[in-house]
């Protein structure tokens, strides 16, 4: 009997979905082994209803409140979590595999001496021993990871790996207000602002048909051919990350976790391999049609229809018919 600790991620007063997903998974892990589920919230003076919302999903909510928790600071989180972990020795600590989580978890693992598995798509307990299931080679293979024996273990959890069923988790967790650790060293970080990178001339979230292009397009010049096809089809042009990384299309065309989540009736993916960050962005799409040269491309695992071919063969044939 031990504790499973979930680090609550929130932004601009809203709990991030990954938090609910982790609490749901942690609950499942608790029930198999009678562990207790504690959630830790670091929040500024105005917590809104966040703490109460978390309390519905945990046995205990540990709250650290004050101006220094107003904005995310990996240094501050690191100090608080390390003290907390040293004090409570949670058996498992769950942190989101997000930009923020990736900044906290490895530091916590080093400070606490606990083993860490990142970007887990599953966490298993077998005879009380934890194992992580995680993807390698960009999702082409899975691995099962074991740990050096330790009092506690740290996991970062892939967003979207555990889907929360509707209408569950109505608990009344006990809320504990904690004194912010007074000895905390001065941080070297100063938050300045959030910048919205998603706004632009095109709103891909409203499109019925998205003609989406990925790394398989090969050259910048070829983007024009896909744009023509999108125009002929009456669809909107979107893309995956590599196309934006290469500056071939502006960021507001990007579908995926760091871009936009879309919900077209049809998502037509051309030369997109289907990294999980991309696939997470098309969960709301009605029908997915994918064209890729690589028959093992992960996109075919989530697509409804697939074509194994050079995308330009398909593009030319479509243009001829329309």
């Amino acid at each position: 009997m031990g504790e499973i600790l979930v680090v609550v991620e929130h932004r601009k007063g809203e709990i991030r979905e990954i938090t609910r997903e982790m609490l749901f998974k942690a609950r499942e892990l608790c029930s198999g082994a009678s562990h207790e589920l504690a959630a830790v919230v670091l929040v500024g003076d105005d917590a809104g209803s966040m703490v109460q919302e978390v309390a519905k999903m945990a046995d205990k909510v540990l709250v650290f409140q004050g101006p220094r928790f107003e904005n995310f600071d990996s240094h501050v989180y690191g100090e608080v979590l390390t003290s907390l972990v040293r004090e409570r020795k949670p058996f498992l600590t769950l942190i989101g595999h997000t930009s923020w989580g990736m900044d906290i978890a490895p530091a916590l693992a080093v400070k606490s001496g606990y083993p860490l598995a990142t970007d887990c798509v599953n966490i298993l307990l077998e005879d009380g021993r934890p194992f992580a299931i995680r993807q390698i080679y960009s999702g082409k293979l899975f691995s099962r990871v074991s740990f050096r024996e330790s009092a506690g273990y740290v996991f970062t959890v892939r967003p979207g790996a555990f889907l929360v069923p509707e209408g569950e988790l109505q608990r009344e967790g006990q809320i504990e207000m904690h004194e912010p650790y007074p000895h905390m060293a001065k941080t070297g970080k100063e938050f300045l602002e959030f910048v919205d990178t998603g706004a632009g001339d095109v709103d891909i979230t409203q499109a019925e048909l998205l003609v989406s292009v990925g790394r398989g397009v090969g050259e910048e010049e070829n983007i024009a051919r896909i744009r023509e096809l999108a125009d002929v089809m009456g669809g909107t042009l979107s893309c995956s990350r590599p196309v934006v990384d290469k500056n071939w299309l502006p960021k507001y065309h990007q579908v995926g976790t760091s871009g936009k989540s879309v919900k077209p009736k049809v998502y037509f993916a051309l030369g997109i391999s289907g990294a999980f960050q991309h696939v997470a962005g098309i969960a709301g799409a009605g029908t997915v049609i994918a064209v890729n040269k690589d028959k093992k491309a992960p996109i075919f695992r989530v697509a409804d229809y697939g074509v194994v071919d050079d995308l330009f063969n398909v593009v030319s044939a479509l243009k001829e018919k329309l």
């Binding site: 932004r11 990736m102 900044d103 978890a105 490895p106 530091a107 693992a109 080093v110 083993p115 860490l116 990142t118 970007d119 194992f131 992580a132 390698i136 080679y137 960009s138 082409k140 293979l141 691995s143 099962r144 990871v145 074991s146 740990f147 050096r148 330790s150 967003p159 070297g188 970080k189 300045l192 959030f194 910048v195 919205d196 990178t197 998603g198 019925e208 048909l209 790394r215 089809m233 009456g234 990384d245 290469k246 500056n247 976790t257 936009k260 009736k265 049809v266 994918a290 690589d294 491309a297 695992r301 697509a303 409804d304 229809y305 697939g306 074509v307 071919d309 398909v314 044939a317 001829e320």
Partner: protein, 259 residues
């Protein structure tokens, strides 16, 4: 501004069939082509861009065997001044051990900034950089898409989920894990790589670093590598391009989109 950049050579796995090896702990690597880890390529470019603007030296560090020197020579050709390869010998490595080795090497170098990629394309860990920072006792930021040094701090832009960036000032020295797209990595010619052979490349055996057995013992172990679980998967459209195009048009129309 002195910068250390940590890089890795990884197998190219796009459009390649990976074959699980007999021990089921990894993949058969004999037939795979190797490249610089994509994220690290951006990290090198960022280091060189900063050096061009602010002066100082760029040192590239990797852990691996002689063949892995390929990525160091590439970094030198892009503009790094010197490089270090740590030879791990037969040591088993995980993210924790790699971070310990890198931190030990970097501690002896002069640096204002340490750059790594967000993650490597093979093990997809995304933990090594921040572990190095913690072991060095310096500040850090993950998934960085912009860096502007100014005096003893840097304005750092971090990419968050959902089309949002977070901008902060971070005191130097610091470690940043660099996201793809932060810059446009320069082209490297074979000639450039040849010329870079004149630049410094030091090789250190891991046993010379004086790390403890504890630091060199992995915390995690891959027990098994396996294929992704079966899904229903896509219904594959067959026929020549013309027949495929007709089916695509029909499906799109059936779903209520007029084209």
């Amino acid at each position: 501004m002195n910068i250390v950049v940590c890089i890795k050579r990884v197998p190219m796995t796009q459009e390649v069939d990976l074959i699980i090896d007999e021990g089921k702990k990894g993949v058969r690597k004999e037939e795979l082509a190797y490249v610089i880890n994509d994220w690290d390529n951006y990290a090198i470019e960022e280091a060189v861009l900063l050096q061009e603007k602010f002066g100082g030296t760029v040192t590239a560090v990797t852990i691996g065997d002689e063949e892995d020197e390929e990525v160091l020579r590439r970094a030198l050709a892009m503009g790094a001044d010197k490089s270090v390869r740590v030879d791990p010998g037969a040591r088993e490595l995980d993210g924790f051990v790699v971070a310990g080795i890198l931190a030990r090497v970097i501690r002896d170098l002069e640096f204002d900034l340490v750059l790594t990629g967000v993650q490597a394309d093979d093990d997809n860990l995304g933990m090594v950089g921040i572990m190095v920072a913690e072991k060095l006792g310096i500040g850090h930021a993950s998934v960085v898409v912009g860096v502007e040094p100014e005096g003893d701090q840097a304005r750092v832009k971090v990419e968050l989920e959902g089309g949002m960036d977070e901008v902060s000032n971070l005191r130097l020295p610091a470690l940043l894990t660099v996201q793809t797209g932060i810059n446009e990595p320069r082209y490297v010619s074979i000639m450039g790589i040849r010329k870079a052979r004149k630049k410094e490349l030091n090789v250190i055996g891991v046993e010379e670093l004086g790390l403890s057995e504890e630091d060199l013992t992995p915390m995690t172990r891959i027990e098994e590598v396996f294929l992704p679980p079966e899904t229903d998967g896509a219904e594959m459209l067959e026929g020549d391009s013309s027949a495929v195009a007709e089916q695509i048009i029909r499906i799109i129309r059936e779903k209520g989109v007029s084209i």
